[in-house]
């Protein structure tokens, strides 16, 4: 058929093989090539012509739709045009034929005329003029150009003589032949014409249409063959009337005549159908995406174009739709959206982060500023202080020494003040970090009172009382606790004009808030009166006096106090146990009006503006105290009555160090007590700043006397009823002198010992003997008030014994390391090996520790701030060799006040003792070579990170050798 179509005569219009309804623009759109007529464009294309199942009846119906009509109209037009064209061609052909016929007729006429003429001439003029012949021949020639067959006849030659009869005859026959030929030609032309006409008739429009349609169909097939689309037509009931389905899941037979519901089930079908119905109802084409999830082809998304089909009458008779699978695209699109959302979230997070980063940076800058400021203020001050210290080492008389002492302590106070301000801001900014160190509460209390006494300018009694059940050593931030105590004491001193100021430290066994309050009340009552009888004191606060009792008879005391002694021991044994230290700082001062109490702990607030004017001060002290106490997990409360006094009470949790340490340390405490006769560390002790004042200014002897009176009063406090009574019955005069003597005798010694002891070890011995004398004299004095010193001595000797036979497997190790993480790891390992360890953070601290304690082994980090391990080792070795410390690392003065005896004791021990093994912990880096470590006097080294194996081996090696 197609060939036929191509073989159509040279007709330019019909060469377009695409139905013309697609029109010019379509032609452009499809950019179809104009094939030459002899070419079969589809020669190479193989159509797998499938029987298409079409509801033809429906097609007819559709042909009646608007579109169908226009299609038909086009076909008609086209056909008509072609018909007209064919008719024109035929007419032309006919014209040509007519002309030929005419010529032939003319020819015939001529021949006839010639014949006649010949006949005539035959009869009249025999002469023949062959001019016409020539003309005819030309005429034929011209004509024969079109027809070769005819031209050949021109060649016929007449052999006969011209104008003879035979000639004419021959000529006549030839002409006859020509005529015959002509007639034949005419006939053939007619035949052809007829054939043409017949042919024309055979090209019925239907045939042409079907050809064209087939062509279009082929094209459509070709184009759509691999397109992933579904094209379908559905009638008004949404039954499929036609479908082109790329997907081979459904055969056409399964679809035609059915609705979507009958074919598929699942998500999306309902939606699509409702949209289709909507399209039919509104008559507006639409494009939508439908997400299907059917058992047949799973989850897929189709974009579907649905258009309504109208009948001629304008009513909707169905829909056409084209659907394309865009599942992948949708997935990609969703992925993209997801990524975009994540990106947005990420961006938001980033801005948030950068914001917080900014805040952190700001905070850090503020902290830096704080540090810089403290440094700026502190460094000149420390310059002054260190100069003073150096000055103290020069040759000075006693008076100058005392002055320097005060200078140093004042300097310390200023330093403290600066630290106060910085501390408060630190605590508030959350930058305050608490340090855990082992300390002795007794010493702390004593030291605080001592410091207060040093700067005391009033007739006040400073007293301290420490419950016997308070552990010798506890773990806590000693600096901060001392700071709190100093603050409270200095406040108390400031607001007390006569009477006393004191510290009462106890252990709260069951941390009951009721207990605490009760304690506070008791004290308030206790110090409310100026005349305190010892009996009353003993009655209301049994722990004030329990020291003496305890030493006399421990068990009795235990019953008396209602504190089971075993409890104390249990705590000790378990180690790392938390005790609650209850500390009262009381005074008999002006008190605080009740309405001012709430403001008391506020910053920059004092009880009243009057007070501020009168007493000065920043008003920061209590705020810092409260914050510090709370930071340590405790509470700070106050009870006060105007003109009677105030009691500040804080309760703090403190850890008790492990037992080994505990059993070791009292030794030193006791021995120190023994040496310096500071036996009053044990329970309660008193300060008579007057003594110091008298030494400072010997001229004011009258003052001195009155102060001594105060001192005596205070000394009544050691609460033994019998003693008290005795004293009061004896009258003041005799005992007073005794007291004065002993006090004066004792006080300078201790001062001397603090100042000079480390330079002159010989002096210590002398001091010790003096101290012994003092204690014995004091022992005489207090023998009536209790056998405490004797008991103490007894205990000490017991402890000494235990030290003589130490349990060798538990060595005491000093760990010197600045890195917290390393500390915790090493500590855990050492603890697991069963060793007791002390931890310090740099070389300087290591030296201090060595000055105070004896260690079996030192593990020393090399790279540390302040003083590195090599230097520290050198110092320790040099001390071990020479017996004295280098000037730069000599024990600090203010520490010596408390630790003088201990260090001197240690010094003795070390002098006689052996070399402490020092083991370096190196990071194996360029700065820390093993040779250097050994050269500095270290015994060995282990490389970091410390692991269980190498630390164990090392310890075994060095601890066994001892």
């Amino acid at each position: 058929m197609g060939d036929d179509y191509l073989a159509e005569p040279e007709d330019e219009v019909t060469q377009s093989m695409w139905p013309e309804n697609i029109g010019d623009k379509h032609q452009r759109q499809f950019r179809m090539e104009n094939f030459r007529k002899d070419q079969d464009a589809f020669k190479d294309v193989k159509f797998d012509e499938k029987p298409v199942h079409v509801d033809f009846q429906r097609l007819m119906e559709m042909a009646n739709s608007e579109k169908g009509v226009s299609q038909m109209q086009y076909f008609m037009k086209h056909w008509e045009y072609k018909r007209a064209n064919a008719a024109r061609l035929l007419e032309e052909e006919l014209g040509l034929l007519c002309q030929q016929r005419k010529e032939i007729e003319q020819n015939k006429q001529q021949i006839l005329e010639e014949q006649r003429f010949q006949d005539e001439s035959y009869y009249a003029v025999k002469r023949h003029v062959p001019i016409l012949d020539e003309v005819y021949e030309d005429e034929w020639k011209r004509h024969s150009k079109k027809n070769d067959d005819l031209s050949r006849s021109r060649e016929t030659k007449i052999d006969a003589d011209y104008d003879s009869v035979s000639y004419w005859k021959e000529r006549a026959t030839k002409l006859e032949e020509k005529l015959e030929e002509s007639i034949q030609r005419e006939r053939s032309l007619v035949e052809k014409l007829e054939e043409n006409i017949k042919n024309l008739q055979s090209h019925t429009p239907a045939e042409e249409f079907s050809g064209m349609l087939k062509r279009a169909d082929y094209f459509l097939h070709l184009v759509l063959q691999s397109a992933p689309i579904v094209i379908a037509h559905q009638d008004a009931d949404l039954r499929y009337r036609f479908i082109f389905n790329h997907y081979p899941t459904l055969a056409d037979e399964d679809v035609i005549g059915k609705t979507d519901y009958e074919i598929l089930s699942g998500e999306g079908i309902e939606e699509m159908n409702s949209v289709k119905r909507e399209v039919m109802a509104t008559g507006i084409a639409t494009k939508r995406e439908f997400a299907f999830n059917t058992p047949m082809f799973g989850a897929k998304t189709f974009v579907t174009y649905i258009e309504p089909v109208f009948s001629k009458g304008g009513e909707t008779i169905g829909v056409n739709y084209v659907a394309m699978d865009i599942t992948d695209q949708v997935k990609r699109r969703e992925k993209m959206a997801d990524i975009r959302v994540r990106e947005a979230v990420q961006n938001a997070k980033e801005t948030e982060l950068s914001k917080s980063l900014h805040i952190t940076e700001e905070t850090m800058r503020a902290k830096q500023m704080l540090a810089t400021m403290s440094h700026e203020i502190r460094s000149p001050l420390s310059g002054v202080l260190s100069m003073t210290e150096i000055l103290a080492t020069t040759k000075l008389d006693k008076e100058q020494h005392q002055l320097l002492e005060v200078m140093l302590s004042s300097g310390d106070l200023v330093l403290q003040l600066i630290n106060d301000i910085l501390d408060l801001s630190k605590v508030e900014s959350g930058a305050m970090k608490l340090e855990s160190t082992t300390f002795r509460p007794r010493e702390v209390v004593k030291h605080v009172l001592q410091t207060a006494a040093a700067s005391l300018k009033k007739e006040l009694t400073l007293e301290g009382c420490i419950g016997d059940d308070v552990p010798v050593e506890v773990i806590g931030d000693v600096l901060r606790i001392r700071q709190i105590l100093t603050n409270l004491i200095s406040n108390a001193v400031k607001f007390t004009h006569e009477g006393k100021v004191g510290i009462n430290l106890q252990v709260v066994h069951d941390k009951q808030p009721g207990c605490k309050i009760e304690g506070g009340k008791i004290h308030k009552r206790a110090y409310s009166g100026t005349a305190i009888t010892a009996a009353e004191t003993a009655a209301v606060s049994p722990r004030n006096c329990d020291k003496d009792n305890l030493h006399c008879s421990k068990h009795e005391d235990a019953f008396q106090n209602g504190v089971p002694t075993c409890e104390n021991f249990k705590e000790d044994i378990e180690g790392e146990e938390v005790v609650w230290l209850h500390c009262d700082v009381y005074d008999s001062g002006i008190g605080i009006p009740e309405k001012s109490l709430p403001l008391l702990f506020k910053r920059y607030m004092q009880a009243s503006t009057d007070h501020a004017r009168k007493y000065g001060g920043t008003g920061l002290g209590l705020a810092i105290c409260k914050q510090l106490v709370e930071l340590m997990g405790g509470t700070l409360t106050v009870v006060s009555k105007e003109n009677e006094g105030s009691t500040f009470t804080f309760v703090l949790p403190c850890k008790i160090p492990v037992k080994e340490e505990h059993s070791d340390d009292p030794d030193e405490v006791h021995s120190s007590r023994n040496d310096s006769a500071n036996s009053d560390i044990e329970g309660s002790f008193f300060f008579k700043p007057q003594m110091r004042a008298s030494l400072l200014s010997p001229g004011v002897s009258i003052m001195n006397n009155t102060k001594l009176f105060g001192a005596k009063l205070m000394c009544y406090d050691p609460p033994d009823i019998s003693d008290d009574r005795k004293l009061s019955s004896n009258g003041f005069s005799s005992t007073e002198h005794n007291f004065t003597n002993t006090s004066t005798a004792r006080q300078p010694n201790s001062v001397r010992s603090t100042a000079e002891e480390e330079h002159d070890n010989a002096m210590v011995l002398e001091l010790n003997s003096q101290a012994e004398r003092v204690s014995s004299s004091r022992g005489d004095l207090v023998s009536v008030s209790g056998a405490a010193p004797c008991k103490v001595l007894e205990e000490q000797s017991l402890h000494k014994k235990s030290k003589c036979s130490p349990t060798s497997n538990k060595a005491k190790i000093l760990l010197v390391e600045d890195n917290k993480v390393n500390i915790i790891v090493a500590k855990s390992m050492l603890e697991q090996l069963g060793h007791a360890i002390d931890i310090v953070n740099n070389g300087m601290q290591a030296i201090r520790a060595v000055q105070q304690h004896q260690y079996d082994l030192i593990l020393m980090d090399v790279h540390m701030p302040e003083m590195d391990g090599l230097q520290a080792t050198k110092h320790i070795r040099s001390f071990e060799n020479t017996g004295c410390w280098d000037v730069s690392v000599k024990p600090e003065d203010n520490r010596m006040i408390t630790d003088s005896a201990i260090s001197s004791d240690c010094a003795h021990a070390k002098k006689q003792g052996q070399r402490v093994p020092i083991i370096a912990m190196t990071a194996n880096s360029f700065a820390e070579s093993a040779e250097e470590c050994l050269a500095a006097g270290m015994d060995s080294y282990i490389s970091k990170p410390v692991n269980f194996q190498n630390i164990k081996e090392c310890l075994q090696r060095y601890l066994m050798s001892q």
Partner: protein, 145 residues
């Protein structure tokens, strides 16, 4: 039942941390210390301490490197600290990057240091995330029991 699943998850996490070289034998030692020493929470304590410490050091380092004139000695000291800590907990990757960092400090190569800091920070954050997950899992296991 849930505890077992959590434990499995924890083990998988730990073995992946070991496998990827994020932590090394030293970390195993810490775990052994915790188990043998009967000190539950020891690893958590060490890890938390390390994370806080490292975090602090990294921010210190960042601040130092931002200064117009970088104090390389200080930077070096901090990196040394970080290296020590990471070695102690067995944070291998952080340790290695610290070692490289120190080399760059020695060369006083500021840009290199900044880059190294970024690397250290990345490694550390990665590790910290893992550690946090680990601690959470441990806590959950604890809570289940």
């Amino acid at each position: 039942m849930a505890a077992a699943a959590l434990r499995e998850q924890l083990n998988a996490l730990l073995s992946s941390m070991f496998a990827s070289g994020l932590v090394d034998d030293q970390f195993q030692q810490l775990q052994m210390l915790q188990e043998d020493g009967g000190t539950p929470g020891f690893v958590a304590e060490v890890v938390t301490l390390f994370c806080d410490d490292a975090d602090r050091i990294i921010s210190e380092l960042a601040a130092l490197l931002e200064q117009p004139i970088v104090d390389f000695d200080k930077v070096d000291a901090y990196v040394h600290q970080l290296k020590g800590s990471s070695a102690s907990v067995g944070a291998q990757k952080v340790k290695f990057t610290c070692m490289q960092f120190r080399q760059l400090c020695q060369d006083k190569n500021r840009d290199g240091c900044i880059m190294a800091l970024a690397v250290v920070r990345n490694e550390f954050y990665d590790l910290r995330n893992k550690f946090q997950t680990m601690l959470q899992l441990e806590q959950q296991i604890q809570a289940q029991q």
